[in-house]
């Protein structure tokens, strides 16, 4: 055995092309270079193509007159308004249908999710069929179904389907009475705000008192009483300054009242029914994830059923429910873009459809549209990360 092998010598430094540090740097420079080159190539081609087609790039077009009408708008809009204004109208319509859709889908999902867990076989069977059917049919097909097959085939305004002579459904939309605040309505709003502030203060106080003395307080019923009582009191004192404007048939169409155009109703129905099916599964999984031992332990401690649900089951179920729920909300917002297929005037339909066709500013329009959705997505996922961090189990 050779003895002149000196083990104290440090291992030879690897040659530079085998050193992981240098390799890493080299590889990253290579990747970055390839990406930058590809970007430059595309940028050059685009610039050349635009120049050849005589399209001026830039966002100046946002101030030009749009010259097209929009069937429903939340803010002032006429044909003389600018493209920027049209963008705002589209964005607000997207947000409107998403917000209402999120609320409806959550309600449907909660109801169906709980129904699926029911011990009643008929009820849970219906819920299962609903979920399995709706989840496996493309959303666009459902939108088409509601729009073309259902809402297009309801009668004309003259033969509207009426409910209690206040709601009317016809092929121009769904009409309902519009609330008309009279002078003095301000007081009810103020009472509502006062009630909310009062409830927050009361909850804090009740919580502190329970921490100190262990005595619980009926926060829920008291909050409910304040929330309903204060505005009701204000309404009685001021003499209910709220009038309703009913839709009336004049000539060929209804006048007055609130109208939801068929495109909106179809989109809303399809979105909330479709997303509701997914939410139902999330709710079910969340409730099932709380092990039976938790409920048993709570009863062993002497907690009543509703307290067990509120303090033991729900907080643990919500931890499982919230992250996938937010991503379903996000999907709903993104799916609202399918409205382009039935021409409900939301962001994609107005901006990436009409405005793009009129101006030809493909790059700018698509970038702005994608930017809006990216902003919404990033905001929601930031919220989700924050929530996850807050709710994460603190493990030893």
């Amino acid at each position: 055995m050779s003895t002149n092998h000196d083990i104290s010598t440090a291992p030879a430094k690897p040659p530079i092309w085998n050193d992981p540090v240098y390799r890493g740097i080299f590889f990253q420079v290579l990747v970055l270079g390839a990406v930058v080159l590809f970007g430059l190539y595309i940028f050059n081609n685009t610039a050349e193509n635009l120049e050849r087609q005589g399209i001026a790039s830039g966002f100046g077009f946002m101030n030009t007159t749009a010259g097209f009408g929009i069937i429903t708008h939340l803010v002032e809009y006429t044909e003389e308004s600018s493209y920027g204004r049209a963008f705002l109208v589209g964005l607000l319509n997207t947000l409107l249908v998403s917000a209402v859709g999120v609320v409806l889908a959550t309600l449907i999902g909660l109801l169906v999710g709980i129904a699926r867990l029911s011990k009643n076989l008929l009820v849970s069977g219906i819920a299962t069929v609903y979920i399995e059917v709706i989840r496996n049919i493309p959303l666009l097909l459902q939108i088409f179904f509601w729009y073309f097959a259902v809402l297009r085939s309801v009668p004309a305004p003259k033969n509207s389907i009426a409910l209690l002579d206040t709601f009317f459904l016809n092929n121009r939309g769904l009409y309902s009475p519009a609330p008309m605040p009279q002078p003095g309505f301000m007081w009810i709003v103020i009472a509502l705000i006062v009630a909310i502030v009062g409830i927050i203060i009361m909850r804090n106080w009740a919580h502190k008192r329970q921490e100190r003395t262990g005595q619980p307080f009926h926060t829920f019923y008291v909050s409910l009483a304040i929330l309903i009582g204060l505005p009701a009191l204000a309404a009685i004192i001021t003499g209910l300054p709220l009038a309703w404007e009913y839709p009336v048939l004049k000539g060929f169409n209804f006048q007055g009242g609130l109208v939801m155009i068929p495109e909106f109703v179809a989109l809303l129905l399809a979105l909330s029914i479709y997303t509701g099916a997914f939410i139902a599964e999330i709710v079910r999984a969340g409730i099932l994830s709380v092990s039976h031992g938790q409920t048993e332990a709570a009863s062993a401690l002497g907690l009543r059923n509703n307290i067990t649900l509120r303090l033991v089951v729900l907080p643990q179920a919500l931890r499982v429910i919230i992250p996938p729920l937010t991503s379903q909300y996000l999907n709903l917002v993104k799916n609202s873009s399918l409205a382009a297929a039935i021409a409900y005037p939301e962001l994609v339909s107005i901006f990436a459809g009409t405005v793009l066709n009129q101006t030809g500013q493909a790059v700018e329009v698509i970038l702005i549209t994608m930017g809006v959705y990216l902003t919404i997505s990033l905001t929601i996922s930031l919220f989700m990360n924050w929530y996850n961090k807050k709710m994460a189990l603190v493990e030893r």
């Binding site: 990747v31 970055l32 009643n120 008929l122 049919i137 959303l139 097909l141 073309f148 097959a149």
Partner: protein, 371 residues
Amino acid sequence: MNPANQTYEPGTHPDLPPPSSAVGAIAWMRQHLFSGPWNTILTLLAAYLLILVIPPIIRWVFVDANLSGDTREACTSGGACWVFIKVRFAQFMYGFYPIEERWRVDLTFIVFFAVLIPMMFERMPGRKWLTVFLLFIFPIIAFFLLYGGSFGLAVVETPKWGGLMLTLVIAVIGIVASLPIGVVLALGRRSNMPIVRTICVIFIEFWRGVPLITVLFMASVMFPLFMPEGANFDKLLRALIGVMLFSAAYMAEVIRGGLQAIPKGQYEAAEAMGLGYWRVMGLVILPQALKMVIPGIVNTFIGLFKDTTLVLIIGLFDFLGIVQAAATDPKWLGYSVEGYVFCAFVYWVFCFSMSRYSMYLERKLDTGHAR
């Protein structure tokens, strides 16, 4: 002899049948449908709802339906007019693919399903080779069969493609092509190199943050601008690239989930064996991770399959697009419900069976955690 009066030695009493209220149909109904007033009300309400809804549907779909004849005049009974579907069936399947060339589509899909179905069973011998065939060789065969242009087959331009065939083409190409891109992106996102990681994160989050429809708009109006002058590639290819990039981002997240689920010991053991990065990944980590995420991949595929309907917005006639076009045909105006129901049924059969398969896999792969 009265059994009530009879006396028995302790331990010799014969077994009695359970009381009639504890077994049989009555007991079952009591337990599952009428256990308490609230449940009884619910059951009655649900039963009323079902009686209200089911019979008219059955009457419309089966009893009163029209199947014979081949014009709209044949639909007289007030039920569903399946004549519409029957007359347009070939178009729903193949789009505007020339009639005398349709055997090529049939052959492609027969081969596809003949390889795919045995591949789905765990015990199939040579399963690995079937997978390799399906992922690498079949796409080439399918291209030459569907598009033609060599081996004496006439070229069929892509605008003539349509119907269910186009839907399947987009979905399958989208998922097969996004798989390798997804693997690269997922590895990049878990890499130690900050620049590579950042690029991958930006790419993934960008595509996941925008709706598919804006991606398709981008593919149809912006991709032509990206190309040098004169280069012109067809609408289907543009849509395919859009779908591919979009699903690659989702695929990357699914695969990342699998990579994260591999215990750290596997990485360390592989490195201790002296394997380099690519061999650690290729020989140890990815085979385990990919197997683990097959249910996730199937779920992504279901989502993609449903999302292919969006290509009709940029003017491709996929299955839904062609049904929609047929329903607005003046010859068959007023029969859109039949079209939608048929379309929904086909989509449902595909998606439902795939989701069942994915659940079966999940159960199969979920070893060791089951209690």
